[in-house]
Symmetry: C2
Subunit: 396 residues, 2 copies
């Protein structure tokens, strides 16, 4: 019953056509870019002092949208505050969405954005869902490239370091009516970041959470909206009080495992009867964030894992299935996936007053598959292995 | 099964204790208020030109919060833009909540806020749910009183007109980590408003909506968070395309009727067998906004409707029950309730390709009960009938 309800919701939401961007409005146009450089360049922090999302580069990209005229000329300007009317709809009704992607410095000193096309597609889907304006993905990618080239000196070249890019779209109409925003602002800020695990992996403990629900059928859990984040912080604090770093979000009476904290969830099972292994992650049914790292892992698994040994499944597993597999010694490993950490190994899952044990390599903080995916993805990100997942911006 | 799931969620969420405001932090203190008056007073719009939430008074109230020191001294300053770092958590993770309440000018020229205590309680609950700081309700009420007295000239005295008050609380910490905001800003802006129905009631057509879901057990649908609003605009546009003004939000496989647009939902049934009537609204199970007008209607119904004729029920009814009652001639009326319109009569509900007809008084745009509630509530709001629901601020 529950799954048929899910299915129906998905179909009906997909049938809703795009609501914005009639052809008379100016499209986003990268050739109209103007650049105003800063007169007070920031001091660069040494790599070891970088904290995720705490320091930003000298400049930011801003593009205003008006319902009457469309996208204004893009501007790169010195990083600085946004001044908005206190009645702006972003403050009251959460007309806001964002993306997170990274750029890497390769061995030639060029800049490589990792799979920006995926983020641009998702950003447009998020925008459409909350009636913010959509845009030409390629134009925004080019503009981010210009911002990165201008702030190139902030992109760390050391392995493990990168530039975190945060495109954000907010509704800026003044007025308290609840309706489609008449005005919006797309802005992009950049933060140089270090490796998520500075001294190697640190496997986390999760609390299986059923009293709070991250996403639901007919909701917006598959979109990267601000609305999905603030409500998850209190359950995380509650889990932390009990010694768990993150929530493992369960859904429904079946207690399906959906996501972990702000990451997608993967686990690997062994079937002792057939001897075959299975890599499992939740299906994109409208309640699961369409993670770019999730997609990268599935693609790499299908391409590079031996199909005689591995089945790759986009299906739900329940927390009871994981507990049972663990008891039978058939739970191989489990990890979260996301742009910040790439992969985040899991060592224990608190459920029903007990901790489900997840195996790690002896003396290590991760399983072998988790490690393998990190290596494969990093090789592609830094361009050590060439692929069309990198969008290269030449610096000279 | 579904209802036991609901029940459990409610219990578990309620057991989560408040996370903020240790005693070492400065509490919100109205005696610390400083006032900076505007040097360029605005021109007042004539009453007939007032549009909901479009024009604001000369001043606003601002109170900053810091995780280290607590609530700063409250300030009343000229209405003007907020300048925030582009990485502020309100732009990315929807750390934002609001309230909506109204003040009325009574026959003595004094200002009457309607049930501000209810809004303050709800605002604190919303804050606690997304880890924004809580505050002393009475102190904020006093401060809003000071703002109203200063901007008294904007409060319309004509019947049907009032001052809409919008307290808002946002997270202002700079930085992209997803965690409890270290800094916040509480601000209050005021907008003089006219009667929702300038030429008397206009009954609306609703579309019963099951492909999109407003709220879920374990979610935040009972809180007045920004996060609940942006996702509802697209379904409303979709309904509008098909000729319906608002969504009637259904929930679950049973298709329970929950809310209408951004209002609570009421309907009245007749039981032909017993001859008794029933006023029905959804129960506060964690998915329903705890509307102040909803509470006022229930209180008045229990106090003033003849209990031999009326049963007052906080229970779910399904859309099929409403359709069936309508066919049997046992659906008496239906309306939405909220601060903006007080009551909003409903004339048709689109469901399964048909329109459920809701009776109205002959030649009128409302049923008799809807009208009665409007009259009762307005008498209390303007102080024509004295009650402890009015908080009076003397102007002389």
């Amino acid at each position: 019953m529950f799954s048929s309800y899910l299915k129906q919701s998905k179909i009906l939401l997909k049938s809703v056509p795009s609501l914005r961007m009639s052809s008379s409005l100016a499209p986003l146009d990268a050739t109209k870019l103007t650049i105003t450089t800063t007169t007070s360049p920031k001091e660069k922090l040494p790599n070891e002092k970088l904290v995720f999302g705490q320091t930003f580069t000298d400049h930011m990209l801003k593009i205003a949208f008006s319902f009457k005229t469309g996208w204004a000329a893009p501007e790169i300007v010195p990083y600085g505050p946004l001044a908005l009317d206190p009645s702006s709809c972003v403050f009251h009704y959460a007309f806001e969405l964002f993306e997170g992607l990274k750029a890497y410095k390769d061995k030639n000193g060029d800049i490589r954005m990792f799979r920006p096309d995926k983020n641009m597609i998702r950003m447009n889907k998020s925008a459409d869902r909350i009636c913010l304006p959509t845009f030409d993905s390629e134009e925004l990618t080019k503009l981010i490239g210009e911002l990165l080239k201008l702030d190139n000196r902030f992109i760390p070249s050391e392995k493990g370091y990168s530039m975190y890019i945060r495109p954000t779209l907010i509704g800026t109409s003044a007025g308290l009516g609840v309706h489609t925003p008449d005005e919006a602002l797309l802005f992009v800020i950049c933060s140089p970041v270090g490796p998520y695990y500075k001294t190697g992996f640190k496997a986390v403990r999760l609390e299986a959470t059923d009293y709070a629900t991250r996403a639901w059928p007919g909701g917006v859990g598959d979109k990267k909206l601000g609305a999905n984040y603030a409500p998850c912080v209190k359950p995380q604090l509650e889990a932390a009080k009990r010694g768990y770093q993150q929530n493992l979000w369960l859904f429904g009476p079946e207690r399906n495992v959906t996501e972990v904290g702000t990451m997608n969830f993967f686990c690997a099972f062994k079937d002792s009867k057939t001897g075959k292994n299975e890599l499992v992650t939740a299906p994109l049914d409208g309640t699961i964030l369409e993670g770019v790292t999730r997609d990268s892992i599935l693609s790499l698994a299908r391409e590079r894992l031996n199909p005689e040994e591995w089945t790759i499944s986009e299906r739900y597993c329940t927390i009871d299935e994981i507990a049972e597999k663990s008891e039978k010694g058939e739970l191989l490993e489990a990890f979260g996936s996301g742009t910040a950490a790439i992969v985040s190994p899991i060592k224990e899952i608190g459920y029903n007053g007990k901790d489900i044990q997840v195996p790690l390599l002896p003396g290590e903080q991760s399983g072998p598959l988790t490690k393998q995916f990190l290596t494969w993805i990093q090789e592609l990100q830094y361009g050590d292995v060439e692929s069309d997942w990198s969008r290269v911006f030449k610096t000279k």
